[in-house]
Assembly symmetry: C2
Homo-oligomer: 556 residues x 2
């Protein structure tokens, strides 16, 4: 079997100017980064805002398992298939994070014949967006401690600094630190720590801003600390917002690349899908909608986390109305949801598929609650049996959705034509029914409880009095209208990663809440959430190197 | 008076492809980064290595003062003047560091009519080189702690981990930290800290490597820690070298930009000039030598630190033989060396210039010890009087050097034609006499002592027995042949920043030594050296923002 990287390297990419030209983007609106990447001018895109008339298709998935679902691969395959069938399709996807590439993860640019390219660049530094976000985030952190060091005119309570630092690196040693030790010249010692860059509120802001001015306003709104009497201190109070916006002025321009079949793809931004909303930038989605007739985008993790946030945070804030949803499932992942161990996934087990399909069915029902039609994409794996596929099709049909077998991994866009036709039909015949699952006017805790009950199918959410008091203080301070962003394990509808399938009767405990005033949501942490990954016992980095031809080995 | 940024914005830059074309660099050897920046293919440059026949001109300076000397400005003005007089000149300069731009520093791209452009890009993220260095450095750090966490098979003594982390940010709070607190999952708590990225050994390695393979070998040689019995542990032992090289595969390609007069300029790398050698990359210098007849390059700080390291570290390692040296001086800075306070520099004071000229004279004598001819460039400031200039010319002449008044700041290359003619004549009539000031075979301490006596004109160097024992251990371990890199204050020949002029009779105390086995030198720290700057009371960042036209304000 050919590896992803071998397939990618066998395809001759088109110059990025030709891809831009296929979207009628003029030369002066393109900033090339090498031969196959470009940033697109915001001014030019802004002038086209009113023509954002494309259909918006969200690709989401069942709860992820170690078996893999292939959400990005399916997004790319679907867009290639739409294009293959004569439709003007554009992709809007997330940029991968650098740090995890050196752990276990491998790349995040699709697979098989459904990939975006150049994959080495995209998976590593790409156009520098994440580095810019890291710099902007850490400049704010430095300005906080600098302000305190020089007299603390704003009377920041050093025990109540909530802005940590970030690095795009898996480095557990930085999760919790004591900083500013070593004497007077280094400031006031206090505890703090680092998160990975994708967990930065600056990342979420870049992805939710509708332009430079909105981004700068949001950066200014970031709450970095509190005074002793709990008055919020913002980045604007520290006069950090302007310099942060300057650091992000290039990063906010969307990046254009291509799929191996030449479909234009905007890859822009990539916030975590637990403590943040997990979608590519609003700017990239809008750009794609103004340039294409069908825009394929994706959300992080499974539909319980990713699609819910796409709808309730991104679409709500940006005024987007999705036209159709694709739920990616695989026979292998459903077998795991049906109780089969990973080592046994190669054996046919139709009953296990049927048992595990409860997970898929619940996601179908959930999507329907948002008023958007859904179709299931069965991402084909060579060990799948016809009977297993039939079981998935049957389960979906019983709940009113089509499930379509797709072979884009092996065949590219041609392998997903049936899916493309079905999705295009949904877009063209449905639409207009979308609404978020809760209104702005609900209390913050009621919003959390609504998601817990209606999406996670829990009995209800619970929280300690101190958490409820914190939510109340934010409501009093004017943040009560914000949507909520629940952070929980991606492996289960519940907060227990071992509860696969479609659990009910569970409770969602809210351990901690965090205000992301700039991004515009309140994070509710439910269970253990890791915001700085570690490297595994044998990190992928050990095998990554340049070979004698100067090509990268071991990254994928 | 027009500001630097106003002058820069009034000039229409040429497309970078046209600049490359002026050097006969073919299209396929160029990777554009936007319209006015490009990276040049290493393969293409390697194929031309044998034609590196240009003359190499080093621009250095008297000891820096708060009055400013204008070394980068003079480098650019000289190159523009060489070109203005029909000579094929190319610049090879350092890239500025991002972090200090938010403190007090302003940009580092020259000034007046002698600037390289686009200055906003160059001073901020540029082509991402420093971000790549930060990532490579911190990946190694993460792999060290990860190795210890998972069982420490290499038996690293956690008290003897010498590899810190880096950020390109002025952040005093990170100078000294306790890391890995918070419990078992976060590793073994220990003290560590962050330096600014320009202080990273990875930066020095990128700047001294002659290609990808050499860079990877040097990365592998980095000593990151010791075992309990003081056996060095290297990056190669941790299998980090390959992944680090992958992270640096783009960064190692030299960046091409242009001066406001269209002179091609390679800006590549920028190590500290105290704990590292302070010069742009060997690759950029070689590229310029293969493409131009006259290559103007610069070294950090004054000639005691910068030129000495350029000769004894960079030229020694890379086999470069400089043809001429330009020592930049200003009447104002010499007045400060002659005892005048900064507030009084606007008043004519010929006697103070004469007194301060001892600093200039000593640098002239020092350069002569390396066998390279020197000329003095008097960087004109509008308050300078004719008598003050005459005093400088006279002082230089008494010691066998010409001093030439230059007006490139106000007039561009046309204002430095006399300097250009003089430098070109030196290059064409002298040459061949260069030699480092000490041989490889001297002991490490004798090398330090040689620099202290012959360049700093100290009585001698001193060190505690523990420091001498450490040097001895490195000699026993096979590092004795390395050159030394003395880190001391840049303001004085001595280790006391208040001792201006030309002090004698002082002692150089070596407080600490560090092994940079990958870069290939031993650092001797003499006095207090800050490797992580802090922000000032009112950081420049507070005034930096995008204006309504989307242009950056406050950065310069």
């Amino acid at each position: 079997m050919e590896t992803d990287i071998a397939i990618a390297r066998s395809v001759a990419l088109r110059p990025i100017a030709a891809i831009a030209d296929s979207l009628h983007i003029p030369d002066e609106a393109i900033e090339p980064y090498g031969r196959y990447k470009a940033k697109i001018s915001l001014e030019w895109l802004n002038a086209r805002k009113s023509s954002a008339n494309g259909k918006l298709i969200l690709v989401t998935a069942i709860n992820p398992t170690p078996a893999g679902e292939g959400k990005t691969t399916t997004s790319i395959g679907l867009a290639d298939a739409l294009r293959h069938t004569g439709r003007k399709a554009v992709l809007a996807l997330r940029e991968p994070s650098l740090g995890p590439c050196f752990g276990t993860k491998g790349g995040a640019t699709g697979g098989g014949r459904a990939q975006v390219a150049p994959m080495e660049d995209i998976n590593l530094h790409f156009t520098g967006d994440f580095h810019a976000i890291t710099a902007a985030h850490n400049l704010l952190a430095a300005m906080i401690d600098n302000h305190i060091h020089w007299g603390n005119a704003l009377q920041i309570d050093v025990r109540r600094v909530v802005w940590r630092r970030v690095l795009d690196m898996n480095d557990r040693a930085l999760r919790d630190i004591v900083q500013s030790i070593g004497g007077v010249a280094n400031g006031y010692p206090r505890e703090s720590g680092f998160d990975i860059t994708v967990a930065s509120e600056v990342m979420a802001i870049l992805c939710l801003a509708d332009g430079l001015a909105d981004m700068e306003r949001r950066l200014g709104d970031i709450v970095v600390a509190y005074t002793r009497d709990r008055t919020p201190i913002t980045a604007r109070d520290l006069k950090a917002d302007g310099a942060m916006a300057v650091l992000l002025a290039e990063a906010i321009k969307p990046n254009l690349v291509q799929s191996l079949e030449g479909t234009p793809a905007f890859l822009h931004g990539g916030p975590f899908a637990n403590i943040a909303h997990g979608c590519n930038s609003v700017i990239a989605t809008r750009a794609a909608l103004s340039l294409g007739d069908y825009v394929v985008t994706e959300a992080g993790f499974g539909a319980d986390l990713g699609a819910e946030k796409f709808f309730d945070i991104k679409c709500r804030q940006a005024g987007l109305a999705p036209d159709a949803v694709v739920i990616v499932a695989t026979a292998r992942a459903l077998k795991m949801n049906g109780g089969v161990a990973k080592a046994d996934l190669g054996r046919e087990d139709v009953d296990a598929v049927r048992r595990g399909a409860v997970n898929l069915v619940r996601h179908i029902e959930n999507i329907r609650q948002f008023g958007v039609p859904a179709v299931v994409a069965i991402n084909h794996f060579y060990t799948d049996s016809d009977a297993e596929i039939a079981a998935i099709v049957e389960a979906a049909a019983q709940h009113g959705s089509r499930a379509i077998l797709c072979r884009h991994w092996a065949e590219g866009g041609e392998g997903a034509v049936e899916l493309a036709d079905a999705v295009a039909e949904l877009c063209d015949t449905h639409g207009g029914g979308f609404a978020p699952i809760y209104g702005d006017e609900l209390s913050l805790f009621d919003k959390i409880d609504t998601v817990a009950r209606r999406i996670y199918r829990a009995e209800h959410a619970v929280a300690e009095p101190s958490v409820l008091a914190q939510l109340k203080r934010w409501e009093d301070a004017g943040y009560g209208h914000l949507p909520v962003c629940l952070a929980k394990t991606q492996y289960s509808f519940s907060t227990d990663p071992a509860l696969l399938g479609a659990p009910t009767g569970h409770i969602v405990p809210v351990r901690e809440v965090r205000l992301a005033a700039g991004a515009g949501f309140v994070v509710a942490i439910c269970g253990e959430i890791m915001t700085m990954p570690g490297l595994p016992r044998i990190p992928a980095a050990e095998a990554i190197r340049l070979n004698d031809e100067g090509l990268i080995e071991g990254l994928f």
